[in-house]
Symmetry: C2
Subunit: 395 residues, 2 copies
């Protein structure tokens, strides 16, 4: 059969066609009135997408650039900080904060698990200047409890910084209600456009801290970026084509919400949740184990391959037979799990297709030991139930 | 008449259509074998485009990110450095080096002029760790003498870092022959693709310095990026769509060089030189003054508006009547000059069109005082002469 190239990876995710088209004709200069209007609109839409009244700033970098910004702008050498980690991206917080000379209290859970808020409470001190964590650990498919951690720092001087690069658009957050000081996103995730833009919201408490932080910073100087944003500009040449694409993505999400971007964002989260639930049900029907069973994320499903097989074999068969790119494990987890994404531009047909392909592959690997259709049926049943639930809810 | 939108700005420059098309369908994951092959090809092509045997690294950022990298990776707090400046981008070097705690010796020339190598020689000390300069100062249209400055640091311990963001692809450099330690480029310039990627070459001397530099650095840690590049990867999520576009741009430049990318790069420089020479001749025929008459760059021509007019009026008429975006002056020079670009994807028809539009605008502003056609004729004569020169040269 024909094979269409399709990404089932948790970033970059499949491109929104309207965003691709917009990007391809983005012959625009960044110091024109047209671009300024577009930039202001994108910054305003980002606030709605993040769901905050705080400033949201846009940076021409990968998500890691915004992570660095939230260390270099909010800490000074020797500051005590806490890093919550249960995977590769948590370790990035560790490396970043150590690079910037922080005294780091590590709160770790094994890969695939999440850190208990009780453990965080026990380790939190009045000297802890910032807690750094992930909303979703993309390397394991686990979702951390941001709300519970946020509660622990309420009324204290500790800031909470959340890498939600895969969390935004796949989790319902109440950024201001919970009191999240900084939340970080990336373009190549739920926003359905290519990598190259990072964005982050910054609370008033965080701005106060930024005034006293002593690290040298220039390209990622958030104070400077805030001033530029207030004038509808970026401090440095913005990644124009990606910003044009982002505007198109917001138009699409808003249209799905019938003109309401916040509603569209909620539906996008629900969409990821449903795709994830369908995929988890299918994996279960196939007798496969999730890598993060206790707190699975909606952004992606990490699955352990059957019978001690190398997950690379599954990844390879997805690609060779079905043109589908699913992600292998990263670092130490390479060969031990594979990851199917639900973040962004995935629909029923994509999800069912991925589930059926997985069933096909497992069928080959266990020749004669499985009957086809059970995994797909499990996913279909989840879909049918969700429609029933919704029709009840809306009656 | 119809008005097509056209950029005559020195970055972003007009998009190469083949690169736009490639970018729009860049549904690619960065940890696949396909992308790795593409990334390695782009890194190899960048070396040829820069014209160096040194490592060339690619960063997901604006050009300023690579400027910061060449400060944070090559200096330590308190280091004595020299900044050569004659415009807004020179001042960025000053701000960056001061932000990173360097003792900065400033060597300044008035806007529109260039710094004499003799002045640099007089101020250079054995303690000067790095000289930072521009190849072309995009804010004034002046070209600095990189070769002469490079000669001054030969055999010394002083590194030379050149921001050639508008210089690469518009100036013939001999990076290794002259001994330029770091040369910096950006995607939105001669490479004819959108902003969002920076690149820089790093000499062995510079790598040695990077080992001892003491600034904290993570996103722009060149040592880490070098290790990743050696494996055909980037340290952090790369701006995939722009890298796909860059590969298409190199294909185009190579094709122009009949399969030889270095030859194609030389022709691209010659193209900018010719477009610039045509535009300068036209400006002269109109009785207009260049802002940088003594050392005009090929990347752009900065022109002083006639009779004390505000250059914003010229910029506005270009846009309103002809759909053409030319750049106003930046900062203090706003209103005092306008800039027409030649960097990247401009041909004869673009150049003549811009010149004719300028003549039209000046004709309106000086109603009855100019006869049409002289500016265009002057540009045509430059073009005809260049063909004659070339046919003689090749006989």
């Amino acid at each position: 059969m024909l094979k269409k190239n399709r990404l089932f990876t948790p970033g970059p995710t499949p491109l929104l066609p309207a965003a691709s088209r917009a990007m391809a004709s983005a012959d625009i200069h960044h110091r024109t009135a047209d671009f300024k209007a577009l930039y202001q609109r994108v910054l305003a839409d980002l606030k709605v997408f993040v769901g905050t009244q705080n400033d949201v700033l846009l940076l021409a970098s990968s998500g890691t650039g915004a992570m660095e910004a939230s260390v270099s702008n909010l800490t000074s050498p020797g500051d005590r900080v806490m890093v919550i980690t249960a995977g590769k991206f948590g370790e990035r917080w560790r490396d970043l904060t150590k690079t910037f000379g922080c005294q780091v209290d590590m709160v770790e859970a094994p890969y695939g698990e999440t850190v208990s808020p009780d453990v965080v409470r026990a380790k939190l001190t009045p000297e802890t200047r910032v807690i750094y964590m992930q909303a979703t650990e993309s390397s394991t498919g686990a979702r951390h409890d941001v709300k519970a951690i946020a509660k622990l720092v309420q009324g204290t001087d500790t800031l909470l910084v959340v890498d939600a690069i895969t969390g935004l658009g796949t989790t319902h957050f109440d950024v201001d209600g919970w009191g999240v000081d900084v939340i970080i996103g990336g373009s190549q995730k739920a926003l359905m456009i290519p990598p190259g833009l990072a964005y982050l919201s910054v609370s008033e408490r965080a701005w106060k801290r930024a005034e006293t932080a002593r690290h040298p910073r220039y390209y990622f100087d958030l104070r400077k970026e805030r001033k530029s944003a207030a004038k509808g500009e970026s401090s440095f040449t913005p990644a124009t084509s990606l910003i044009v694409a982002m505007a198109a993505a917001f138009d699409y999400i808003r249209e799905n919400g019938k003109g309401d971007l916040a509603k569209g964002r909620e539906l996008l989260v629900d969409n990821a949740e449903l795709s994830a639930a369908m995929t988890r049900a299918a994996a279960k029907a196939l007798g496969l184990q999730l890598f993060s069973p206790s707190s699975p994320a909606a952004a992606l499903t990490a699955i352990i391959p059957p019978d001690g097989l190398d997950s690379g074999e599954i990844v390879k068969r997805f690609r060779d037979q079905f043109g589908a790119v699913v992600a292998n494990g990263q670092g130490d987890m390479k060969g031990k799990l594979f990851r199917i994404a639900h973040i962004g531009y995935y629909d029923y047909i994509d999800t069912i297709g991925a589930v059926a392909a997985l069933e096909q592959i497992v069928g080959e690997l266990k020749a004669g030991h499985i009957e086809f259709g059970f995994a797909v049926r499990a996913a279909q049943e989840v879909f049918a139930r969700s429609k029933a639930d919704r029709s009840v809810a809306h009656v």
